[in-house]
Subunit: 305 residues, 2 copies
DNA sequence: CATCTGATG
DNA sequence: CATCAGATG
């Protein structure tokens, strides 16, 4: 106990070292780290053509945090022609300045509810037309779909509603699925369609690590799986599964809980889904599982079109 | 652009270093850091007696965060007979295990609203009686007052309601002030009282850095100042100001905004207020402005009783 | 600027 | 186990 001792002669203690402005962001690949990842592909179309268009997609799970974790470095290193983001959780007025990247046109659609959903799209080439939503009031205020039209195809970048804990929003999802299906079907009657993004469903048992225990959980209910099946039956193809029909352990999402990612206890929720007539153009559909910065990893499509 | 190059021979990149469980806590004095602070006092009572009782008080501004910032080390190093905490923001069931400290009885009072207010008290000696609240329904559900009775005095440890941004809760405060005043007055008729804690007012212009610009802000309105004046007029003494009537720059709170603490743009909001009859027992009333871990610093009373 | 909670995933 | 917003200070 500090009893009534004489005052010491010590000089005043200086204030502690100033804290960094931002709490040390979780470590992530920086630009130079990407150099150690293999981003090459030797795949071609079935008739041997090299890709000439690259599209990437990433559920960033909060754009502001993702930017602090050097997410933009991925964009620069991958250097896709088109880049789609889901779950930006960020209204346009709050976008950090780093999101402006030379050489890209950018398009943003945020939800009415602050910090919820939200999508974005980068495109090197200016699209012929950009449209927002599905044309359905219920979903168009939530920031879920950006469609860009190019000369030879439509790209629909989507963030599909999560069915929620306890499946509380499964009814909403059951309304969404046919709306999206009809939307892309309609587009497909005009030009080929590439649908990409977080589809929030693992279609088949080999699309997630624990199919048996997840049949009652959001992302692997029969209802959601049937929705995906119905979509594919309308003349669309899951590009990854088309190329790698037997591949296991190929996931794009791992919950942050319980070290799921390091144990690869994951789900394949992010897709490039193509109009059947684009299959001859498909070169590769790749999961960038070595890229960090979100609970999802990015995916990349290589195509000749 | 990563064109159709051959796959590299690099092996898979290992997952990034696991993030620490907790984001690096803001740096704070650890136990050993306290060794560089001067915690001694050579003050005695006016008739020369050394102190035999030490009481400390700290608005910790969130107990869970404060524990991570090594707040408990302060308690161990200061080693007071009684330690009072305000703004614990923590229900008893969520207390981190570290809060149990050998040699102390502990008492907690949390508010009904999760994460709001809440007070705690450590005592080496078991009190004769412990009571919670002021006996006024409106305030007793908020976690603001613990009273401990000892042989020779009452200690009232309080967290006074903040008048709020735009003074939205000034009316509530105006009800509180007389309630607290009457409460301690009543106790004082039985035994001497020590009232301590975050009084949420700077009484006089020399109790804050910017009196001129804060007369309409919570903590320095005329109403709040009058409340403190009325309390003192009932026979109580602001121990710090009694001992150091001319001292300037002596503050116990600095907003986290704009580096206020390093510029000492602060407020004296935390007090030991004594029944007048305890003044002959008073040795020292100290502001531990070198101790970090909250936007308030701790204060310590040395008394011979 | 920092603490909490609560919603959401 | 993360994100973000919103309340509170």
């Amino acid at each position: 106990k500090t009893k009534n001792s004489k005052p010491k002669e010590k000089k005043a203690v200086p204030p502690p070292a100033k804290k960094p402005k931002v709490d040390k962001p979780p470590l992530n690949k920086t630009q130079s780290d990407y150099e150690s990842l293999d981003f090459s592909s030797n795949r071609t179309t079935s008739d041997g053509k090299l890709w000439n268009l690259k599209i990437s997609s990433w559920n960033v799970g909060g754009l502001k945090a993702w930017v602090k974790k050097n997410g933009i470095d991925y964009l620069k290193y991958e250097d896709p022609d088109i880049f789609c983001l889901q779950e930006t959780k960020c209204s346009e007025s709050k976008l950090p300045p780093e999101v402006k990247v030379d050489g890209y046109h950018t398009y943003w659609l945020s939800g009415e509810k602050e910090g919820y959903a939200g999508v974005g799209l980068y495109s090197k080439k200016e699209p012929i037309k950009v449209t927002y939503g599905l044309g359905k009031k219920e979903f168009d205020t939530e920031g879920r779909v950006i469609t860009v039209e190019y000369e030879k195809f439509y790209l629909v970048a989507a963030y599909v509603p999560n069915a929620g804990r306890g499946l509380v929003t499964l009814p909403k999802r059951m309304k969404w699925d046919p709306d999206l299906r009809n939307y892309v079907k309609e587009l497909d009657s005009k030009k080929p369609v590439i649908l990409c993004g977080d589809m929030n469903v693992s279609h088949q048992p080999n699309d997630l690590a624990n199919p048996k225990t997840n049949t009652k959980n959001a992302g692997f209910t029969q209802e959601e799986r049937d929705g995906m099946t119905a979509l594919l039956e309308e003349g669309f193809v899951d590009s990854f599964r088309h190329l790698y029909p037997e591949k296991t352990g190929a996931y794009t999402f791992w919950t942050y809980m319980g070290n799921a990612r390091s144990r690869n206890t994951g789900w394949r929720l992010d897709y490039f889904i193509l109009s059947q007539k684009l299959i001859p153009n498909l070169c590769d559909s790749i999961i960038r599982s070595g890229v960090y910065g979100s609970d999802h990893c990015p995916i990349t499509l290589l195509i000749n079109i």
